[in-house]
Every structure is written in C-alpha cells, then in structure tokens.
C-alpha cells in the first residue's frame, strides 16, 4: 500500500434538521482507505454508518465546515457538479441494501447504465459486451433479458454489483449489501466481494453484523457519529 490514501474522510460532520431539533449524525468522523484495502464500517442502526458512506461516495454533502472527502488527495465536495457526477460515474461504484435497480430496464441494460450515463468513451456494443461478461462472471448469463422483478434477491444484488463494476471503479461502496438477503445468499454475495477484493478492488462496506464485518481488512466502529477504533483484521 502506498502512503497516500486513495480516499480520505477528514473530520466529517453531518447534521439533519428535523423540525425544531437537529440530529448530529456524524461528529467529526475520519477514515482513510488505501489502494486494494477493504474497510468495514461497523455500527448499530442509526450510528451514522450509511451517512458516512454517502458522504464518502459523493451522494451527500458534509455540513458546511464539516470536514472534507479527499479522493486521491483531491477534495470531492469542492469540485464542480459535473466533476462530482464524473466521480460517481467513473471513480466509484455503489451497492445498496435494496439493490436499487431500474424496474423498466432489463438486467443487461441495468448493468450497462453507468456506461450509458457516462456517455462514455466506449461504444454501445462494447458496453454491451462488457456488461455481458460481467454478468457471466457473476453467474447471471441466463438472466440478461429479464426484468429485476423476475429475479431473486441474491440475483438482484449481483446485478447491482455488476452495475457498480461497469465503469471499472477504484472503490466499491457497499451499504449493508446482505441486509436484505438470507444467510446463504448473503454469504454468496460476500464471496463475490471477497473475490473482487482479491482482484485488487478497494471496498468500503457498511454493516451492523460483526461476522460479516470480519470479511474486510479493517473494521472501524462508528458510535455516536465518531470513529472509535480502527482494527486491522488480516
């Protein structure tokens, strides 16, 4: 691992305003992710772990003066909207607990979506080939023309992973990727992530399950909006 973190969240704070009261979800949480590292953020419900992931993944903005997110040393949230979109599209991939696939698109089209959105450097045909091979790798070759509603939970999550990998991101963010699956299927998904990690992908995963957390290189505990104890697993 190089000395410069691939991604760094510094002193991140996030407050939600609910009516008259303010909820301080994150209170100066910091995190460093290096190349080819798998960090698991462990915490109870409401501890702010998903929020942390959203801030790091460019989906949600920290409070004003509430820390910075540095990707390859560059502040993500000080970029232009266009650059933030590029960050979401190119540099990272997101896997959600509830899959978040577009119901009107087929499995293949859902997988190709980031390439199409990026308007990208590759042609439709190439994107199709790439998406097909990703689906093949994930054992979904027979599901290409199916709609998400025709798939099981595990299959949907694998489609979501394929979509996240479409633009060859540097980091994969996984928000409770097994939270909606039975144990066996969840393990299959974790196996897929492990394989990707072994192939060199950096991963930030959020979970409340200690056993699942143990799959990563490093577990960080998030409690009351702050990182408590980084612990190296392997």
């Amino acid at each position: 691992m190089s000395d410069t973190p691939l991604l760094e969240g510094k002193n991140l704070s996030k407050t939600y305003h609910l009516g008259q009261s303010d909820i301080h979800v994150l209170r100066g949480a910091s995190l460093q992710l290096f190349e080819k590292q798998w960090i698991t953020i462990l915490g109870t419900s409401g501890s702010g772990k998903s929020t942390m992931l959203h801030l790091l993944g460019g989906l949600d903005r920290p409070d004003s003066g509430g820390g910075v997110v540095l990707f390859r040393g560059d502040d993500v949230w000080s970029r232009s909207n266009k650059q933030i979109n590029q960050y979401r599209n190119n540099d990272i991939g997101f896997v959600f607990q509830f899959y978040h696939l577009l119901p009107e698109l087929t499995v293949l089209e859902n997988t190709m979506l980031p390439a199409m959105v990026g308007g990208s450097n590759i042609s439709t045909l190439e994107a199709r080939d790439l998406a097909s091979s990703l689906l093949d790798q994930l054992g979904l070759q027979h599901r290409r023309i199916h709609r998400p509603r025709e798939l099981s939970g595990g299959e949907r999550q694998r489609v979501a992973i394929a979509r996240a990998l479409m633009n060859s991101p540097s980091i994969l963010f996984a928000d409770e990727p097994t939270g909606n699956l039975d144990e066996e299927t969840g393990n299959e998904i974790l196996d897929v992530l492990s394989q990707l990690h072994q192939d060199g992908l950096s991963i930030v995963m959020v979970t409340h399950n200690t056993e699942i957390a143990s799959r990563g290189d490093l577990i960080v505990h998030l409690r009351h909006g702050q990182i408590e104890s980084p612990a190296t697993m392997a």
Binding site: D60, N81, N89, F96, L102, L113, M116
Partner: protein, 601 residues
Amino acid sequence: MYQTLLTTRYLTSRVIPLIAVAAVALCVALVIVVVSVMSGFLNMVQSAGRTLMGDVVISYGISGIPHYEELSHRLENDPNIQGASPIIDGWGLLRMPYPDTDAKKSVTVQVWGIEPESFARVTQFDASLQWKTTSSNQLHWLLIDVCTKHSETLFASMDAQNRESCLNLINDASYLLKHQQLDLWNELKSIVGQEIWEMILSHDERLSNSDAVFQQGLTLSRNGRDAIVSGLHVSDGNVRQKDGTYQVVRNDYWWLPRFDGTLTMLPIDARGGIIDPESVIMPFANEFQSGVFIIDESRIFVPIGVTQRLLHLDAAEIVDSDDPTIILGVDPARSTSVLVRGIEGVPAEQLRTIVNGIYDEFRASLPADTLVMPPTRSDPGLTINTWQEQQRSFTGPVEKERELMRTLFSIVYLVVAALILSIFWSIVYEKTKDIGILRSVGASRGGIVWIFLQYSLVIGVAGALLGLLIGWLITKNINLIHTSMGNPPAILAVVSFVIAGCIAVYTVTKSRSGLLLPFVLGSIGFVVFCFIGGIVLYIKHIGGLVIWDASVYYFSVIPNQVDWPSSIFTMVGAVVFCLLGALIPAAKAADTDPVEALRHE
C-alpha cells in the same frame, strides 16, 4: 442515450402515458373543432356578404342618387370593374297568398328593387335562384290554375258532358294532388283534345318550357308581368328537410310561383314625411336562397321600376310652386345604392379608391345647369363602402363572438396545462427513486430533466397529432354528426342497452369475489350505457332534436372546414404546455438530493 432508452421504456410499460396522450388529444380536438366552426362561420358570413352585394357599395340614404344610370354606365366602362348595378333598398309589407281563408298573412320584407341583368353581373343572383326547372307536381298545379282561371273560355267549345268531366277532373285533382301523385297531365290532354290543350299551354309559358321558371326569375317577370323573387324562407310553404333540401308543403300546393302577392311600401317626401302607402299586386316568379338565413327570410327582389314608383323615386316633373302649369324641368329617377363588382384580383380597398374617382368624374361631368345634382362626396349622407364595411354591423358581432370563444378557450388551454402538469407531476413523482438511482451512477440534473422532456415531447406530439385527426374527422363530418345526434338511429339505443346488460351480468359475476374495482368500473359502465340508450329513446320520443337552428345561426349548414392556422397554433400550444408541464416537476425532482430520492418509496 440512456434518456432515449428510459423514455421509450417509460412510455411503453405504463398506462398513464396513454391517458396523458388521450387527455391532450381530446383537448386539442375540442379547441380545433370549436375554432374551426367559428372561423368557418365568419368566413361564410363574409363570403355571403360579398356574393350578395358585390365589392363596393355607393349609397345615398332614402332620397337616392339622381342620374344613377350615367354613374352605372361610367362605372361599367372602367376596366377594373366587372359590373355595376343600381338598386333601391327599402322596407315593405308583403301580403302572402296563404292561408286559404281571406285573412291572409302579411310579412315585413326588405325590398330590393334591382335591374336583373346588371344585378346578375354584380352578384351571383342566377346561382341563388331556387327553382331551376318545374317539377311534375308544380306543372300539375299550374295546369289546375290555368284551367280554373280560364275554364269558361277554354271549355266553351266542348260538349256539356266532356266539359263536365273536365271540370270534375280538375276539381278532384285540386283536392287529391295535395296528398298523392297524379297523372293529370296525360289524363287532361286525352280528354280536351289537341286544340284546347294548346290553348291551355299558351296561357302559361312554364307549362311548355321547363326552363321558363328560371328565366322568369332571372328577368323578374312572369308571363309578361313584373314579378317578385322572394327569399326561400319568406314563404312558410317551404320546409327544410333533415337532409338540407327543401320541400313545399302539400305536394307543392304552396309553391309560391303559382301565386300573386301584394307589396305595400311607404314613400317618403323630401322633408322626410310619409306620403300615403302605395301598393301593387305582383306575381311571384321564383325564389332565391343566399345561404344567409336572415336574408333568405326577409329579402325580396322586384324590378327597380316598381320600387321607384312605390317610393316615388321615379322621374317626375318639377313644377313652379306658384303656378303648377309651368314645368321647370324633370326630377330624374333615383336609386338608393349602386353595387359595384371589381374584376378578379382587385382588392376591395383599391376598388373603392377607383370608385371614388369615378364618382367625382361623374358628378363633374354633369352640366352646370343640371336641375338636380347628385350629392358631393363630402355629403355625410353619401357613403362609398367596401362590402366588409357595409357588412360590419352584421359581421362585427360574429367576429366578437369568435374572439369571445377564443378567450373562453384560452381558459380551456389553462385547464389543459393544469391537466398536463398534474399528470406529469404524478409521473415524475412516481419515478423519484429512479432519479435517485440515476444520480447515484453519475447522471447530471440536465440529463434527468431531458428524460422527462423527451417523454413529454412524445406525449405532446402524439396527443396533438391524434387531436388533429379527431378534430379533423369531427369537423369534416359535423353536419352528419349533427343530423345523427338530432335523429339517432334506434339501433343505437338497442346496442347501448345490450352492452349495459352485458356489463351488469359481468359486474355481478366479478363482484362475488368481493373485489371493489370491478364493481365500481362495472357500475360506471352500466350507468353510462343506460344513459346513452335513454337519451336516444328520449330524442326519438320527442321526434328528433335540432341543435343547429338555422334561424339562430344564419346558415342552414354548419361550417366544416378545418381552420389550419388555428389548428397548428393549438397543436404547438399543446406541445409547449406538455413540455412546461414536465419541465417543472422534472427540474424539481432532479434537484432532489440523491440520498433522499433513493429513500423515496
């Protein structure tokens, strides 16, 4: 690229875009039909105006223009002018030949005294004549009239028995012909013999010449007498049929060219006082139909000489007020107006300028010692107007009505806009989560908005085209639809009730499962079809319905030409409203935080 894919999928996987297209189409069709009918209506009024009075009208109130023959002559010599015709425009009372009792009906009529020959050059008088030939029933009535009127001379040479049978035949026919078809012509011809038959025919030109009724209309004369050509709706004898044709009641018994009428007019003296009314009994030669109901119900044409005599506008000697035996000169005959028609391609405004110049020349050409001079152009009583200006009092309200309709329908446009906005609001709202997903994979706000703009563009264009098609079909067939609505086929009621019955059975069967939707839909369908069937039966019961009443709307047919400029404007408006309706909720949705959008359920 992903926008087009998503737009296609959104359009093809849901019912709601179809509802949106239908809503847009119905609104567009509604506006197209209403505006087309109103515009067509105005065009008909305007073109009828031009047909009836030419392009430019020179008028000088009640006292009339002296030396009008010279003016007409000068006008007709101008290469830009196709024809000029003097008329006398006045009001009178016309005593009609009906009913059969002595208490005949009298109607107020607008009397136009015309020179038929020049009048036909300026207006389409010949084309407007109703009776081009004489029908067999009409011939029979004319035959009965001649035989009744001249029975003594005609049948004098016949023996008593033959005369008796002739008179019986005529008497029976005059009763029976009101109700049934007869072959009086051949029957009578065989009884009376060739010589008397020819005598009979010689009494009325129309008996031997089928074209005579038309020619008599054109010349305003009947069998050598000055005659009246009256508007088709002046007489109560003409009844409009549902198919738009006319029939004369009682098998042509009340066919006006059989009869005479008494025309009474009020002459006015130089100081505006009324002189004793003047009356004349004149035969009817023909009837005309201009297509403008208020003209057809009130106007009659008579030869200009008749009106000049009745209104004391004919030439008269001017005598010395102290010694009536001394004749100072002649006050020439007058006409109240001169109608002018330009050759094709000369605009009415330009023609008016030409007519102004000719009028000035005409006045200047009269010798200085002329006893009675025509008015100068600065005389406020003299007007030289184009047909549009002359018709303003008539077309003005129609134009106002059209503008009022446009304004009212602008509100319909707003309703369309609100409808589209609410449909798109719900469509976009439903897709909020998709927007969150797209944002999470890097889609820009503009990219998101473009999905919904494409979506609304397709709905707007499809709706506008479908609306145009529906509007075009309705407008083109509006008279047929009107007739069918006024007199719907009974089978429609039967079909409606059968469908209602089927729906009832289906609903009862489906509702057993306890589901509410089939019950609600079935009940609505049942009520709607029962309602349609009931309405059809009701219209049948009251003997048909006339929605477009010619007496209210001036014309006997509903205009059925699509107003293309307004239609295209409406279509473009619908598309723009669709785009705006989608833009607002889409922009709002694109601005939603991705995380918040993802949480949307």
